[in-house]
Symmetry: C2
Subunit: 478 residues, 2 copies
């Protein structure tokens, strides 16, 4: 049975599940749930449901299971791969978690926090900060993304190097399954080796196996000191060598090691013309150490940099002498991302390779753009310490957007080919969603595909959960 429109009976059943104020089915009411943060996708849906409790999420899934109605779980809608928006979603309902937005518990003795899935990341970070704790997940979208979406997409960000991806920070999940049953995977334990670690399945599954309604995370002591440096280097090779030395010489205190190609600075200046790179060099690195008390962190970083300059790895280095100056370094990193959005449509990638292959990735990708799309402008930046490079490409300003988008698809295909050729991934942190599904799926071995399909079928036999995201619709699988 496929639902093509909401009959009065179905509307009444939905109202029974989420109450009269818990859903909207008119275009105006649905608009904000059907457009993404970056303006790249427009979705469709039969209705947007906004359950106000875990019980209501269960009622929604029981109803959808009965009707055979597909569901798109949605958090803050800040994803970049059309994971929570479906342009062909005319027969699906969006289930927004935004009304489940409470912090349930902060336990500073155990360094754990439990929150509803719809809790905004920044709210969680602020609550931890107020108790001298750190929840280290840090993303550009943290003011609007939700912790449930962070879990479902295994979010990354600038602190991965020190603290890991969302997967590494999650201790437990609470999930409503496709049949409406509730799985309580909370325990608050640091170590629990009791059979299959079921939460791992849902982390990064992009809503295709169930709806995450609650998340339990690890907290850390808030660092009491931070040292930030902005460095100029001659090449990406030098940057990778520098990182490897830093790993050895700075213990486990590196909290950021971001590579920025000098061509990115202009983009940041679109956001704030006052922005200027404190060094002049083709490759720039924003490096940050942080720690508790009792360590002379300034001397540690200063000596490291002096040694790196002496060895010729770094050509220029500015060690921030105030938090204002450190903020100005970060403004470059943040501004260059916003600047791309300001400039309009552009090719966005999220590639990862073995760390030692980063220079090859960048060199091959630049070569490809220079040869095949010479009027396009490549930008290189990323979390180099994780092997994760955002190699983005700006179309020439004079190219009309629809032409640029058509051409952009070729650019992306070429860049993916280069990453895959180096044994890399086309999705280091953004996920697969709908926009990368085909490249992802065709790149898998038959055995891998068979396992993915078997897991999907095991947990969502009717194919109701986020159909079309990550893997082809279930009917294709059998």
């Amino acid at each position: 049975m496929t639902v093509h429109h909401l009959s009065p009976e179905i509307l009444s059943a939905i109202e029974g599940a989420v109450g009269p104020g818990g859903f909207t089915a008119d275009a105006a009411g649905m608009a904000k749930y059907l457009g993404d943060w970056a303006g790249d996708y427009r979705g469709e849906a039969l209705a947007v449901l906004r359950p106000g409790s875990v019980g209501e999420v269960q009622a929604v899934m029981r109803l959808c299971s009965e009707l055979g109605l597909g569901v798109i779980p949605q958090g803050g809608n800040t994803g970049l791969v059309s994971g929570a928006i479906d342009s062909k979603g005319r027969g699906l309902v969006v289930v927004s978690l935004e009304r489940l937005n409470a912090i349930r518990q902060i336990d500073t003795e155990n360094f754990t926090l439990r929150a509803d899935a719809g809790c905004v990341l920044q709210t969680i970070k602020d609550a931890c900060e107020a108790q001298d704790c750190l929840f280290p997940l840090a993303l550009g979208a943290q003011g609007s993304c939700q912790i449930g979406g962070n879990a479902a997409s295994n979010a990354g960000g600038v602190n991965v190097l020190r603290y890991g991806m969302a997967r590494d920070l999650i201790l437990g999940l609470e999930v409503v399954l496709a049949n409406g049953e509730l799985w309580n995977g909370f325990a608050g334990l640091r170590k629990n080796n009791s059979g299959y670690d079921l939460k791992q399945l849902f982390i990064g599954s992009e809503g295709t196996l169930g709806i995450i309604t609650g998340v339990e995370v690890k907290l850390f002591p808030k660092p009491v000191q931070t040292e930030t440096a902005y460095l100029g280097l001659a090449s990406f090779e030098a940057a990778i060598q520098l990182f490897n030395r830093a790993r050895r010489d700075c213990s486990d205190l590196i909290s950021a090691f971001e590579i920025i190609g000098s061509e990115c600075i202009e983009l940041a200046r679109l956001i704030d013309p006052g922005i200027a790179a404190p060094v002049s060099a083709p490759v720039q690195v924003l490096m940050e150490l942080s720690s508790g008390p009792g360590i002379d962190l300034n001397t540690l970083l200063a000596s490291f940099l002096a040694d790196a300059m002496e060895k010729g790895l770094v050509t220029d280095a500015v060690l921030a002498t105030s938090s204002v100056q450190a903020r100005s370094f970060w403004a470059i990193r943040e501004g260059l991302v916003e600047g791309q959005a300001r400039r309009g449509y552009h090719v966005r990638t999220d590639l990862s390779v073995r760390i030692s292959d980063i220079p090859a990735l960048i060199s091959q990708a630049r070569h490809f753009i220079a040869n095949s799309h010479p009027s396009w402008i490549p930008l290189v930046y990323g979390h180099a310490g994780d092997g994760n490079i955002h190699f983005n490409v700006l179309p020439p300003l004079e190219l009309a957007e629809h032409h640029a988008r058509a051409r952009g698809a070729e650019v992306i295909a070429g860049l993916y080919e280069i990453a895959v050729g180096l044994g890399g991934s086309i999705s280091a942190e953004h996920g697969i969603g709908r926009s990368r599904r085909e490249e992802f799926w065709t790149g898998l071995s038959p055995t891998h595909r068979h396992m993915v399909a078997a897991l999907k079928t095991a947990l969502d036999p009717k194919g109701l959960m986020n159909p079309g995201c990550l893997l082809p619709a279930t009917e294709i699988l059998s």
Copy 2:
């Protein structure tokens, strides 16, 4: 079809899969594969197969799948929960990975290593050390356990606090599935957010979903300095408070925080009568910091301890002034484990609770022993920073072993009840195997059980992989 004995046809098929030297079916040849390290279990098997290549493992699984013959994958056989030994395994074959024992690759630029599943952990650690790298997994059994078994059981150990469990250290796996297909999950990438993270399923699955044939792990820079202290404290409450302060004051440099009840010292002296605790206090802590260069680690630890003494958290503290002295502290921690084995049968647990509940766990457990088994001697030690306590209990020496074992089952049941009552786990790191299966399974919610069974069926529909381990035999599931 159930295989009850090895017919000439089956023997010949096995020989076809692994060669004439690749299996043994006589009692003498099988003996070493059917007894565990701790001497707690005796197993049975139709035969022990020793494939010499990944292709041979595939051939074995194809054959077993055809015959409907159940398989027990086996690494170094150092597990403590009868996961690789089956006392009712008369109709099963053991597949030992011991001949797949090569290190395939060490990449010191990417800090990664790939090895065959049968590679002994100590061999891997030594190879890393020789290249100034650290593979931090550290277990008492490291001289004989194998990396594939470490992955399958999600091994823990003394370095979990700083570096995580095996799960946190694994970047990729290579697995032969129940149908003989090979899944290559190697990539060497730090970040790869591309759909379901399939390796997570096999980690900690105790051989019930496939045979791990290769493991890729993260390496770390070898610390260049280590500071070790042995502390005396008045109570377990003080130890937990001390740990929480240490987390804040010692950055992320704590590499061990082991709690030792003073009653354990006597056990260590069974191994070496020269062993003596450097402090006299009811609760003792072995604390270790480690780091790269450029940090005054000695001053960091010394100031931390001075402050803790001033605040009355620590009553006595000895900071090792030489590596010999540091080794003597570790000899206590290692000796107390060996001493228990030397003394004979004892109740062994591996409980975890929220860190703040450790004092309650210990107090309730001691109360239970004092009241219900007054002549038994409780021992408390463990990785307190992870919430993981080994609350073990020694029977009175005069009690005959078979009586002690019978009584021991009651002791274990009582201790599990206390841990579960505190929201804890009956298996922090040792796993479930066969010995804890019933308590584990009956403690799960119906929804959790249903999910476990669905995953098992999805990947091992014939129920061939380690039958009876972790979950009831598949026929019970449906």
